[in-house]
Subunit: 364 residues, 3 copies
């Protein structure tokens, strides 16, 4: 059993602790921290379960599963927060997931990979298609924000209608990018797919040689999903009190802290494979995750907000918009040539640090 799995098993103890903290009223801060720690292993196992089920059901359906449930943890936390009316926190966590994946995860991968290998390469065509998709996502959240910022007396309903229309376009585009990467131009992604298989084989050799058990992993997925919903409630309920006790704003918590909790497992994967010089796989995790947030999770939340009667839209805080735009700009500029080195990783991390400072000092 790998060190990672042992850590995750130990972290499971925070599920009962967080529940105890909630019912015995140990205070919001303790509930918040323990619920956050309890979500880490649940998220990791949900990812594991999704991958194992994908192996059984075959590449097409499996790819779709991965593409839909890959960010299930973030989606559940966001839905619970949306239901509680914490719309600004939901938007902040979307912002934070995008910039966290593009700058922190991609930056750490390029830095630690680059310390071992002088120059690492990856498919530049894939990087460019991803870059253009992320540009479209920036445009999609830019327009409602810009419309609200440049017009006087625009109604909230108009912004929501525009956001809904844009959300539908984004989900369609997301579907077409899946069609592109899995069917019509799958050959471009062959290197990354080969690296996934090698990685999977290495992992399976460590654990077992058997074919994954569909019912076992489906049960794991369902149980984990249930507990994540549960722990998300604790996390969201205590978020405002707990963060103000820590002297942090809701904005900083949503943009910096929550995404680190929700994405921890993926961060670990991306960095680990980068250090094995599997940059196509590493980038597909980091950029793929941010594309999924921008083109699938965010639009789904806009549509869900309409059904929940919560005024969720794509009109972000202008400062968050600036953050997403610059993150996409610098990530695209660094990845578009299909090569990376440690300095490029450092530049991404520096951009993340600078943004982190800005959100820390931002008075909202």
């Amino acid at each position: 059993m790998s060190t990672k799995n042992i850590i995750f098993l130990v972290l499971l103890v925070f599920i009962p602790i967080s529940l105890a903290a909630h019912f015995l009223e140990w205070g919001e801060l303790i509930v918040f921290i323990t619920a956050g720690l309890a979500i880490l292993p649940l998220a990791a196992w949900m990812g594991e379960a999704t991958e194992e089920i994908a192996v059984v059901v075959g590449p097409s359906l499996g790819g779709l599963l991965n593409a839909t449930f890959g960010n299930a943890t973030e989606l559940i936390i966001a839905l619970v927060a949306l239901n509680a009316g914490l719309i600004d926190v939901v938007k902040a966590s979307i912002t934070g997931s995008i910039i966290g994946n593009l700058l922190l995860v991609m930056g750490l991968s390029m830095l630690l990979g680059g310390l071992r290998y002088k120059e690492q390469t990856f498919q530049s065509v894939v990087a460019r298609v991803n870059a253009s998709s992320m540009n479209l996502a920036v445009i999609a959240i830019l327009l409602p924000t810009a419309m609200n910022y440049t017009s006087i007396g625009i109604s909230e309903r108009t912004v929501q209608n525009l956001s809904l229309a844009v959300a539908v376009v984004l989900i369609l585009v997301y579907g077409l990018t899946l069609l592109f990467s899995m069917k019509t131009h799958a050959y471009l992604y062959d290197v990354g797919v080969a690296e996934i298989e090698i990685e999977a084989e290495e992992k399976h050799e460590e654990i077992s040689e058997e074919k994954p058990n569909l019912w076992l992993w489906t049960s794991v997925l369902l149980v984990c999903t249930l507990f994540v919903a549960l722990e998300s409630e604790l996390l969201v309920d205590t978020l405002e009190v707990a963060t103000s006790k820590l002297g942090l704003t809701a904005l900083f918590t949503g943009v910096i802290l929550l995404p680190i909790v929700g994405n921890a497992a993926e961060h670990a994967t991306a960095v680990t494979v980068a250090m094995k010089d599997k940059m196509d796989l590493s980038l597909s995790v980091a950029v793929g995750s941010s594309m999924q947030i921008a083109l699938f999770v965010a639009p789904v939340l806009v549509i869900a907000g309409r059904f929940m009667n919560q005024p969720m839209d794509l009109d972000f805080n202008p400062f968050e918009l600036v953050a997403v735009a610059v993150a996409v700009l610098i990530a695209n500029s660094i990845s578009s040539d299909g090569k990376s080195n440690w300095l490029e990783g450092t530049l991404l991390l520096a951009a993340y640090t600078v943004l982190g400072f800005a959100f820390y000092f931002h008075p909202v």
Copy 2:
């Protein structure tokens, strides 16, 4: 005779219909629609006449003719609207022509071409020079807008003086890009030129083998120009009443509807040749047209506004500026590697759709 020519002949019937509608007072909406339909074949024949005259007078003078009269229809409509004082409509149609060519035409070309060919290629050096020229154009319209937006109590005269100075620089740059593409670095454009010749030969085989008649085509050009001026008057006079009857804003009409009318013939050409895998020619039509609008038509209108005593300048609605900037950004990001596929076309069309929604919902 090709299907296209038959359609254009049929559309000519809208010239007398629109005149009848005007003099018999059938209502503004009918005049507006019939005048718009009447312009379509006139624009197509003006383009045809320009090309035929270019064949007779030789490549140098011909290239200059094409570069100057290529967007004659848009220029005439814009001059008539400028003379009528509809400055916001003129600016909106500049915005719309740029984003329409970069997103709608280029997007449709890459999508429909990409459905037939897995990957299409074109000269990346040319794409990069074009990208930089369009960046300069964005800067040129950004500065007066940004100056007006960031300063308090700036005089209208200052913005106009800045716009005039910028306009002169842009026209000089346009002249130099012609020098570059026709003289000093013409070899870079050889593929596109060869594709034009093949395309022209194919067309001539369909119609006739004779050398074009200079006087005939000059007469066609003059007559068409006369009628376009005439129909533009009808279009512009009825624009405000007609669009408000359709429930559309003047902004939406200027940005989305007018450019489709003015550019229909070019749209058809760009898409047709893309489906024959002549991407250099297709992009030179789409990007060339948007460069011509930004570096030649827009500056000419600023200078004409000074003479007509109309306060035309380069201070755009900030939302239009955002639209142009993002259109140039995503078009550059997609075209700069000299390769295209259907997903890239789809991303451009998605960006156009999203912008279209935004202009539809924009409350101005």
Copy 3:
């Protein structure tokens, strides 16, 4: 002795003239102009002395010296202006040095080089790393400005604290770019280094074959530094009165005039070597200088401001921010493919001209 050196010797006469003008009270305008002219040869000789000392002390320490004292003139002028409380002038000269190097110097180099050689090439990997570093610098000055622009009631102290944190990150990044270019990935810069050596050899053949004298050049450096400080006082003291007599704003002076004075010698070098087809060296001077301003001089000034008790921060005039952002955008778009031609140089110069007009008309 070269023409350049004769010009510089003649210009030395302006040191006593400017001092006389000051003490005999010939008027602020004369003091301002003569002090500006006196700084030109001093800046050139400081650069020469730094390079000669670098030859003696060896590549590592020499590279560090060049990287630290390369923009010593600008730094001294800025420190004197900062001490006098002319914070807007300091910020304007930072803006101006960045856009001047990226657009004016790089543009002239590509244009004049491109008139001799049809296409010039340089290391695209280096261009891309530089591009990403400049993007980071834009982000760093964008964030405090955007925070101040998008928030209501933000305290000046918060903006300063954020600026200080960002400044520390930038200096660290600057150190790491030196490590990258001199140690871990020095091979990428080999072409440029070789061109420096050839250029140095050619220059030494003209003057002498002896090894440079460390004490002589250290004395030259110290004396020049002393006089630059001195002349900077005269320049800064008379700046406001003199420029208003010339009908110019402090913004225009800071953004356009001061940087031309401070960078004249480097401009000459970059253009001269570009005309010898040494584009790697030419770009390393132009882009290197702007990187040094953004990642080293600007942060040092923020930190110095804290010690001098002057409220220096990275919250720029939004219009200056726009100027820096578009300069970086178009410079990156033109240099990222590792090739240049005369039209690309023209586009950079056109962008500089347009920005110059905008700063001339800007009412601040």
